[in-house]
């Protein structure tokens, strides 16, 4: 294959990575932006989404589409329930204190990993793609499901933006992000907003897990890479900046796709890490973050 088609293939692969990463990182960024806590267990919500998708596929037997649709409903609900329980039982008790929540979510990360290892096992398990079709380019055929993943991710990103920008709930979230005490003084139940945001961030990660599992397989350690990449994206984009998160996800995802294709995935990770270091030195608040 000549360079042009090769590049097109790399860009398509990069777009899939970027879109799923944007959805995952958006959840992390939303939680940090509004609640000012770093959720180290965010990758485990992604992993749980994938594992729930595998269970749903097992339940529905032969119908891959049925299992996928069931997973799209069940995974976010199950993970949101877990996030709400975490918020009530852990985060509220430490009063959302930044350092304490980091330690608490590290604990949650290991708890979830070990629970899934015990109940689901150590094996990576495939989930069938819900639909099969190939898009025929003149040089190669490409998985239609991956294009569906891109489309679904873009819709999720737009939906999240619409909620934040156009609804009363979004206004309350933004008010809480900018000044929680003043939000309280204007009738916003800030603790309820925190619970909702933590659940919403977890749901975004879970949906990303459901979308990716037909491409990657479900495994109890699969949350670590997305967590690392989400942190990279959130740091480059600017902590708490949703626009920055999406832009950085596309920069990281696309460069990951292209560099992995032409050189090696390891080099892509090295360059992403170097980019984080560069951003931290030159612009510590990130590309779109507020300057201190």
């Amino acid at each position: 294959m000549s360079f042009g088609p090769h590049l097109l293939l790399a860009l398509l692969e990069g777009a899939v990575t970027a879109c799923v990463l944007a959805v995952t990182a958006l959840g992390l960024s939303l939680v940090f932006g509004v609640m000012r806590i770093v959720n180290v267990a965010h990758g485990e919500f992604y992993m749980l989404g994938a594992v729930v998708a595998w269970f749903c596929a097992s339940l529905t037997g032969g119908s891959a589409l049925g299992g996928f649709l069931l997973a799209l409903v069940c995974a976010p609900l199950v993970v949101a329930g877990l996030a709400i329980a975490t918020d009530w039982l852990v985060l509220r008790r430490v009063n959302y204190h930044p350092e304490s929540t980091i330690v608490a979510t590290i604990g949650l990360l290991y708890l979830l990993q070990q629970a899934v290892l015990s109940g689901y096992g150590p094996d990576a398990r495939p989930v069938e793609a819900p639909i099969y079709f190939r898009v025929a380019f003149p040089w190669f055929g490409y998985s239609g499901y991956k294009l569906v993943v891109i489309g679904a991710s873009v819709m999720l990103l737009l939906g999240t933006w619409a909620v934040l920008a156009r609804t009363r709930a979004g206004l309350c979230m933004r008010a809480t992000q900018q000044d929680p005490e003043m939000a309280l003084a204007h009738g916003v139940p800030v603790r309820l907003v925190y619970t909702a945001v933590f659940a919403a961030g977890a749901m975004l990660a879970a949906v990303a897990g459901v979308l990716i599992v037909p491409i990657q397989q479900a495994h109890y350690l699969m949350g670590l890479d997305p967590l690392l990449l989400s942190f990279i994206v959130v740091i480059i984009g600017g902590l708490g900046s949703l626009r920055g998160t999406v832009v950085a996800a596309f920069v990281i995802g696309m460069s990951d796709g292209v560099i992995s294709m032409f050189f090696s995935p390891t080099l892509a990770k090295i360059l992403a890490t170097l980019l984080v270091a560069l951003v931290l030195v030159v612009r510590p608040s990130g590309l779109f973050g507020e300057r201190p």
């Binding site: 206004l171 309280l184 204007h186 009738g187 916003v188």
Partner: protein, 237 residues
């Protein structure tokens, strides 16, 4: 709507700042609260809104008891807070800041509350889409007050509304406070600028070490300004 505060005690953690405050603000009047830094002026306003931790005693807004309510339920009782330094939502537009006031859910329908707020600050009508953080200090103060009025509040807690403003804007803010009083809005006004408080207040209360020490009318203070020196450190001829 009157505001009645009885035996209010509040502070931060184990530190008690308010040590039994008793105050009455008659319906449609302005009570100026003066005192030195650290006397408890801002803490009093925050305690009324439920924003400081430990509060006991009684705060009645009209017939409703506020102490013990969740802080986010306080604005629905018809009371709003204009904090020191304005504390707008800076990345939101002026319109969105007003919407935050409308959501707070006081009396009256949202459209008329919004109209009332903009009517008091007509200069804001041309700035509705501007992010609040990009406005001048005077405009930000107008937004802060309009946001509070948009809640439909009949009681306003104003914490140093003239802070950092040039004299012409201070005059504008004081004029609006006078208009609001004529509209029947009850106001508790904390001020560092003694002259500003004396211009608009019906009564002046002095706070020292978390207690109200004296209540006076501005006329009486004009005759005997010694409390100003005693409680605020301001000497007048």
């Amino acid at each position: 709507m009157r505001l009645e505060i009885s035996e209010l005690r509040a502070g931060y953690g184990r530190i008690e700042v308010l040590r039994g405050i008793d105050l009455r603000v008659a319906s449609g009047s302005v009570l100026g609260l003066l005192g030195r830094n650290g006397a408890g002026k801002t803490t009093l306003l925050r305690a009324i809104m439920g924003l400081t931790g430990t509060a006991s005693g009684s705060v009645r807004c009209g017939d409703r008891e506020i102490i013990g309510l969740a802080p986010h339920r306080v604005p629905a009782c018809g009371i709003a807070y204009v904090p020191q330094g304005r504390r707008l939502f800076p990345e939101m537009s002026v319109e969105e800041n007003l919407r935050m006031g409308l959501f707070a859910g006081g009396e009256g329908d949202p459209a008329s509350r919004r109209a009332f707020a903009l009517d008091r600050f007509p200069a804001l009508a041309a700035r509705l889409r501007t992010p609040a953080g990009r406005l001048s200090g005077g405009q930000q103060q107008m937004v802060a007050m309009a946001r509070a009025l948009a809640t439909g509040a009949r009681v306003l807690l104003l914490d140093e509304p003239s802070e950092g403003l040039q004299p012409s804007l201070v005059d504008r803010i004081l004029e609006t406070i006078g208009q609001l009083r004529a509209d029947g809005v009850t106001m508790l006004l904390v001020e560092q600028k003694v002259e500003a408080a004396l211009r608009v207040a019906d009564r002046i209360a002095f706070i020292e070490q978390g207690r109200i020490r004296e209540h006076l009318t501005p006329e009486r203070l004009a005759r005997d300004p010694s409390p100003l020196e005693r409680y605020v450190g301001v000497r007048r001829a």
